[in-house]
């Protein structure tokens, strides 16, 4: 098991490194550069040339990359070129706020998704199952920005129950305001992702419930609750866990739409900002973190598989 974890960790480091090379290359292929972005409407050729020189953009690419890499290995993410301040703290602040949003949404998605999925599977064909299916397909089909705008119009502009946008630190505004700012974005995220997760759980649960060992369990007279908990659920969960692992990554760095609609200062929007301004150090640092989170989430998912299923555990144990 330890060997398995170590090997997967090593692979994750490789993936993160490959991503850094890829991002570096892509930013240099894109037209325009950070000098144009900084100078905006003042980007005369002489001004651009002077600024490129100042920012070290004229050095050979491999040298620029090496400067960045050696900085990161020393724990220095470099200076954000567009903001002229250290990229590390800016990224970490945004990551912290994304983690709050992602953490709450993830727990809700996991609990609601699995719960509703199991409920729907055990009530297959009944009115409640069909009502759930309708709601699930609705929230899968309707994009987040639409649900988000609708929620803002309804709960902020019309009912005045919740703030329209933004984030306030708990230390500054207190628990009530902090929570009030989180309700809408968390709800929109949860609705969309729960729909996916519960659909998937329902179908894999149905598959398992029709298998022979469930028939055997029922035949030997086990109560239905035990059948579900001990025999059906552990075998139905692996696909759900895979999806949840992907969702964890999406929630940290990929919820640009929800962050934009709710003007939530998270990592996703910061990454878009970095791309728009060709701000390589900031983009690299952000991508590094998101990639690492994906890698870790997948690792956790693999370990969870192994814990749920002895066959995988033993197979990897000897490998």
């Amino acid at each position: 098991m330890l060997l398995f974890v170590a090997r997967r960790l090593l692979a994750a480091v490789g993936v993160v490194w490959a991503m850094s090379v890829l991002i570096f290359a892509i930013v240099h292929i894109l037209p325009g550069n950070v000098a144009y972005a900084i100078l905006g409407e003042y980007a005369t050729p002489t001004a651009v040339a002077a600024l490129e020189d100042k920012l070290g953009l004229n050095a050979p690419l491999w040298l620029q990359y090496w400067h960045w890499l050696s900085g990161v290995l020393h724990g220095d993410f470099g200076l954000s070129l567009s903001m002229d301040r250290p990229a590390g703290p800016v990224i970490m602040d945004a990551l912290g706020r994304s983690a709050i949003l992602a953490g709450i949404a993830f727990v809700l998605v996991a609990a609601l998704g699995i719960g509703l999925g199991v409920y729907a599977a055990t009530h297959k064909g009944q009115a409640s199952d069909r009502a759930l299916a309708f709601a699930q397909f609705l929230f899968i089909a309707v994009p987040d920005f639409f649900t988000g705008l609708l929620a803002i119009l309804l709960f902020a502009a019309w009912l005045h129950w919740l703030p329209a946008t933004g984030y306030v630190p708990i230390a500054e505004a207190g628990l009530r305001e902090w929570l009030a700012h989180l309700v809408l974005p968390v709800a929109v995220l949860t609705l969309g992702l729960t729909a996916h997760v519960s659909r998937l759980t329902r179908s894999s649960m149905l598959e398992v419930l029709e298998s022979r060992y469930i028939l055997a369990a029922r035949a030997k007279g086990l109560p239905e609750r035990l059948v579900l908990r001990r025999h059906a659920l552990p075998n139905a969960l692996p696909p759900t866990i895979t999806i949840l692992a992907i969702d964890a990554g999406i929630l940290i760095g990929g919820i640009v739409v929800v962050e934009t609609v709710f003007a939530y200062p998270g990592l996703g929007r910061l990454l878009v900002f970095a791309i728009e301004h060709r701000d390589l150090p900031m983009l690299q640092a952000g991508i590094l973190i998101v990639t690492a989170i994906y890698a870790v989430a997948n690792l956790v998912a693999d370990i969870a598989y192994a814990l749920l299923n002895p066959r995988i555990r033993y197979a990897t144990g000897v490998a």
Binding site: R85, I152, A156, W161, T165, A180, A263, L270
Partner: protein, 498 residues
């Protein structure tokens, strides 16, 4: 909040959950679209940042909403007969936000930093005429210019020339310090910038607000919802198609003011087909600019001849921008060797919706005049690298500058800093008029030259100046004492929240 709605929704629930209409404190909350990048005012380059520049800092002079220039950190100014020697006595006892007094050495240090090529300050070329800047005593600053420049006091009101403490330049990007009515407190990119009232502000009794919050909200519909929800007091720069619909809202006030910001169809004067003045003229007479304003700006703008807007006293009122003349245009095209008309691509910037609409408007309106324009959409972020100064025909635009000289010279003089990145335009009459206007300190003489310049541009157009565009903001009814400024920034020293 009306009572019936509450009752319907269940009084108990609503009372428990309803938020107070606004926080108790006297803080103005303004909704912006994008995150400011640089906090050093000298390095700022976009409209969202200029708002901050004018709240936290002061320049030597200040431009009011009626476009008149008045003293700010300077008490007054005087200049020599030849317009090359300018003296600015400073106000006494102006304190920076950290409590230190602002003196002439701070002003000198700022302009030296601005002009040092090592610092690559974006607007430094606008101040290239400064030869030396000195401080004969702590409350006097003297500029010596390399050539006479009548508008020198005016350009000192511009956005990037704000005085900062000379010993704290290194911390400007993280903890900026100025002399302005509001002091910097904190900035979270993507979320908000928090400013607090400067208790030592040099205008007694001002500002009236306790603070300002610049809230960054990318989605316009969300900003409007936040304004209606009472989460915002001002939405800056609303889209012009929203001016009429939002004007109907009972608890909002919408103001739309003319500016000197312009959009144009930029033509490359060096390559076919637009190297022929007859083709450029055909393009200009083939379309009615009033139709362009109606279709592109929803009426929120005015046709113009050059960057000088019709609201300005220097505008050439003797030129009539008439109705479309498609037959005349076709005739000119035929003379230029295009009897069948011209097929040419027109590049429009993705991410600048108004300019994109201008391109499509021209495509439609110019068909009868013999122009078959093929719209190509290119991301605005790729413009500098791929389009500017290169493409035969594209749509772009520029924000207002503080003086007529800085609005016209860089774009229309053959040696202007922007000319080579736009149309490569060269007209000796226009050059002569621009040079002469610059060398005169007398507005009456300047006016004669600028009217001559507009005639030159009308007869030999570098492209099509489509319009001077309006600038609009939406205000909560509680906001008082704020004028919508044609330069797109805010003076909030007199602002209050009722």
């Amino acid at each position: 909040m009306d009572l019936t709605r509450r009752t319907v929704l269940g009084a108990a629930l609503a009372v428990a959950a309803t938020r107070p209409g606004r926080a108790a404190q006297n803080v103005m909350r303004i909704g912006l679209g994008t995150s400011p990048t640089r906090l050093d005012p000298m390095m700022t380059t976009n409209g969202d940042e200029y708002i901050y520049d004018n709240l936290v800092f002061n320049g030597l002079t200040r431009m009011r909403a009626d476009l008149s220039v008045v003293p700010d950190l300077a008490q007054s100014w005087s200049y020599s007969e030849d317009l090359k020697h300018w003296t600015f006595p400073l106000r006494h006892g102006v304190l920076f936000h950290n409590g230190r007094e602002m003196v002439a050495d701070d002003v000198v240090a700022f302009f030296q930093r601005l002009l040092d090529p090592k610092n690559s300050a974006p607007s430094s070329s606008n101040y290239a005429m400064i030869e030396t800047v000195t401080a004969p005593d702590p409350y006097t600053v003297v500029f010596d210019l390399s050539f006479p420049y009548g508008g020198f006091a005016d350009i000192l009101s511009d956005r990037q020339v704000k005085i900062v403490p000379r010993d704290l330049v290194g911390q400007l990007s993280a903890h900026p310090i100025g002399t302005g009515p509001f002091a910097f407190v904190s900035y979270t990119p993507g979320d908000r910038m928090v400013l607090a009232k400067n208790p030592h502000y040099f205008e007694p009794g001002l500002p009236k607000l306790d603070g300002v919050e610049l809230r960054i909200i990318p989605e316009m519909s969300v900003k409007i919802a936040a304004l209606e929800a009472g989460d915002l007091d001002i939405v800056w720069d609303i889209p012009l198609d929203q001016v009429k619909p939002l004007g109907g809202h009972a608890n909002l006030r919408v103001e739309s003011v003319p500016t000197a910001s312009w959009d144009a169809a930029i033509m490359n004067n060096q390559t076919a087909p637009f190297n022929d003045v007859r083709v450029r003229r055909a393009f200009n007479i083939g379309v009615d600019r009033r139709d362009i304003v109606e279709l592109t700006l929803f009426g929120q703008g005015v046709p113009t001849i050059s960057p000088i807007p019709p609201t300005h006293p220097f505008y050439a009122t003797d030129i009539t921008l008439g109705a479309a003349d498609p037959d005349g245009a076709r005739k000119l095209l035929a003379e230029a060797g295009h009897p069948e008309g011209i097929t040419v691509p027109i590049i429009v910037p993705v991410g600048r919706p108004v300019r994109e609409r201008l391109g499509v408007t021209l495509q439609q309106l110019l068909k009868p005049a013999g122009f078959d324009l093929q719209v190509q959409r290119v991301p605005f972020s790729s413009y500098d690298a791929e389009v500017s100064g290169k493409a035969p025909l594209y749509i772009d635009g520029y924000f207002a500058r503080p003086t007529i000289d800085t609005s016209c010279y860089p774009f229309l003089h053959s040696k202007g800093s922007w000319n080579s990145r736009l149309w490569h335009y060269s007209n000796p009459d226009v050059n002569r008029a621009l040079d002469a206007a610059r060398l005169s300190g007398d507005p009456a003489k300047q006016k004669v030259q600028y009217i001559a310049m507009q005639h030159g541009v009308y007869d030999d157009p570098p492209g099509l100046f489509a319009y001077a565009v309006n600038f609009a903001c939406a205000y909560a009814k509680t906001v008082q004492g704020v004028q919508t400024h044609p330069m797109r920034w805010f003076d909030l020293t007199h602002a209050t929240l009722a």
